[in-house]
Symmetry: C2
Subunit: 513 residues, 2 copies
Amino acid sequence: MTSAGYRFLWLLKMLILIVGLGVVLFMFGSVSLQAEFRSLKPEPPGSPLGVQVLKLLPEERLRNLFTYDGIWLFPKNQCKCETTEEQRSYNFQDAYDQSDLPAVKARRQAEFEHFQRREGLPRPPPLLAQPNLPFGYPVHGVEVMPLHTIPIPGLQFEGPDAPVYEVTLTASLGTLNTLADIPDSVVQGRGQKQLTISTSDRKLLKFILQHVTYTSSGYQHHMVDMVSMESKSSVAKFPVTIRHPVIPRLYDPGPERKLRDLVTIATKTFLRPHKLMIMLQSIREYYPDLTVIVADDSKKPLDIKDSHVEYYTMPFRKGWFAGRNLAISQVTTKYVLWVDDDFFFNDKTKIEVLVDVLEKTELDMVGGSVQRNAFQFKLLLEQSENGDCLHKRTGSFQPLEGFPGCVVTSGVANFFLAHTERLQRVGFDPRLQRVAHSEFFIDGLGSLLVGSCPDVMIGHQSRSPAVDSDLAALEKIYSTYRTNTNAQIQFKLALHYFKNHLECTQEGTQKKH
Amino acid sequence: MTSAGYRFLWLLKMLILIVGLGVVLFMFGSVSLQAEFRSLKPEPPGSPLGVQVLKLLPEERLRNLFTYDGIWLFPKNQCKCETTEEQRSYNFQDAYDQSDLPAVKARRQAEFEHFQRREGLPRPPPLLAQPNLPFGYPVHGVEVMPLHTIPIPGLQFEGPDAPVYEVTLTASLGTLNTLADIPDSVVQGRGQKQLTISTSDRKLLKFILQHVTYTSSGYQHHMVDMVSMESKSSVAKFPVTIRHPVIPRLYDPGPERKLRDLVTIATKTFLRPHKLMIMLQSIREYYPDLTVIVADDSKKPLDIKDSHVEYYTMPFRKGWFAGRNLAISQVTTKYVLWVDDDFFFNDKTKIEVLVDVLEKTELDMVGGSVQRNAFQFKLLLEQSENGDCLHKRTGSFQPLEGFPGCVVTSGVANFFLAHTERLQRVGFDPRLQRVAHSEFFIDGLGSLLVGSCPDVMIGHQSRSPAVDSDLAALEKIYSTYRTNTNAQIQFKLALHYFKNHLECTQEGTQKKH
């Protein structure tokens, strides 16, 4: 070999050595100028103040941060209802005999689990995305109807270049496909639970991913399928929700939007025909043609001569909430106005104002004042495994947007306008035969968004005994049914324990928060 | 300078040149041996078959892929209901006078939009995650109750090393905080809508992120807050759903699980007292103490001497579905068994079997056979902007898991056991006064999961006219009410158009799919 040849070989060896060294130097140089002069060990830069101790805020600090109306609305093992100066509390278990309690608890747990299964609860734990995954995918919001097909948006693969790209998608409650027109050698598993794309063409991979479809198999109402997307050792998961939309139940207000086609008045009466008639007459002074539905569980039926009254009789003393549920079950208009049989309409009883509020907001119902009392109260729920804690406070949550003078709350008086379809969905529990009020709003928790406009008022007939002796006697009988006996109180507490899966309740006045 | 010095300088220049060249060669060399010999232009390797044309499958192929029972269940602009040999179709607009149609459409659109707003629809478009983001975050499943606080799981930052790390989280329907006990110099905006973390300590950043909390401000029932997480120019978004759970409505079956405490029978009668009495007597042969609720809109009330019958009267001819809605509104047990007043119980009418099916599955209701006919039908919905298309097919979707002989379907006969609370939630529309059946199941779409167990049977009383002349006369009057007049048909079609936001329907026999 010539001397130039030897020199070339030597240069080649130097090249390899230098390239190696150059790469190492290059990598460190790219971090920062400062890093070049540091030690080669990858130690994280310390805080200028020294190392920070990692600790959490103590519980008293947390309680101050996340308290509303004196209630700590933060996840905890078991909620509690405490009796203080301002608040009374009831433990619902006290409504049962100690000896019955274990069996009651077991039955309640069994019923609760059955309920949960039908509601698709508990929901699966949150799905967490890992950082630096080479995938694009839909994080939230992909929904498909049972048996339907949808394209999955946003699927991407941005991994490093490779001679061949292999991406696999896997579903469990449905099958996968792609709208791309390509041979089976590139995509396998079309119409199956696992779709595998295998190509060396990056543009083709992108195109296929842009047009992947999901077809839900089987008829179910609410499930969440976790679809996974993998390539080499990287895996991303995203949810596809299988849900059947609830079909609308709309009411035609008619071309003239007459109040008669929009609103039905509903009431229930028992042993108070004289008060009912006064109430009806007062309605007719202001609203001569609105339909009034009357549910009556008195001993003898009435003969009401009013062509716009619909009259229903029930078994004697069947009950207060049974009658309320009956009355609302007969309404054929978009809205229903509830009134008690001992109210009376006056010139402040403006149904049109309440209609306007419901038409223009997302509220399900809006109450007015009875005399001057709006009877507003808030309900706050803490969920726990052994039963939830229900906190009741007077007052409201916040003003109602667009309606100064109106507020958002949880409960109102028995003078309210409601979306018929929403009110029927919750209903009045016919097991509540005598005294009951807040139970309806508790049953409506999570279902009914409630407002209150205290400026819309209805009168309350005098509570003084009737002059007429027959009527006075009837009123006396009636009042015996209004007495909240101990047995009835125990019954209602037990009902809250079992029906609503509650542990206890705490009632008090509004605290500043 | 010496010649060795010059040579050294020349070597240094060569070094820099070679290192540069070596780095370039090294990068290409790391791809594959093959790549070293290729051109230096970064052209993606082509498929051995040549470049693939990017095109989608033609529509006929797509239709074959995503068709169920002859219906193409794939997103489209406007669905259609076609009349073929096997299927009839109805366009619901035909029920209106042409001159009224524009006003009707406008009213329906206004009512539909109001309904959508109250349901939180339409849902926001899917949130898409970008690839290679240096963040970890919860993709799906983080829920918070209104006014409550929750920790946000899975927040991570895995970006490149830096002297200072700055990560900003931003919410809009709630405020952010962290449970980490650290000074305000590190975290700013605690309890505000924007939280900024600024530290050079990577472990501290990790700790703070692990304990970020979200507090929902304001009382609302269903909203989705898009929370963003950013650092330098990288942004990730994830959803936090503000939702109030629906409070449970459970029924205590009692320590002995007596059928009387689990099931109430409900029926409606009109001008058929003789048939009603035969039906009641047949119930008592097999179930002497089950409560039977009877809603009656005949002219004259009956006197039913049965201490377990609850009897309700209604305005004369108020109607079929009004009566059904009334009857179910009075039920106080977990389950309600619906029967028509002209059925009769026999030894195949095993209520216990139906109870077992509902206790062990997620079905909301399960029907049996009347005589030998199960009257099963499926409903498939295609949603479109101008109104949905409803397809009706006989048969079922799939077998019911755990119950051979039972199936999942959409509609059944008027002999079914249902969860009272679920049935009341849907209800029977009192606007349907005369002939109606499938309307109930259509109203239940998306709300009721329906099954059918044809082996549980009830008898149907003979349709031959009564021998007794008075009864025969009554039956004649009754049958006039059962005639589906043209006016009533038009009324029901218009009701589907407006109430259910439907465009058309298509009914046919089951196709193979």
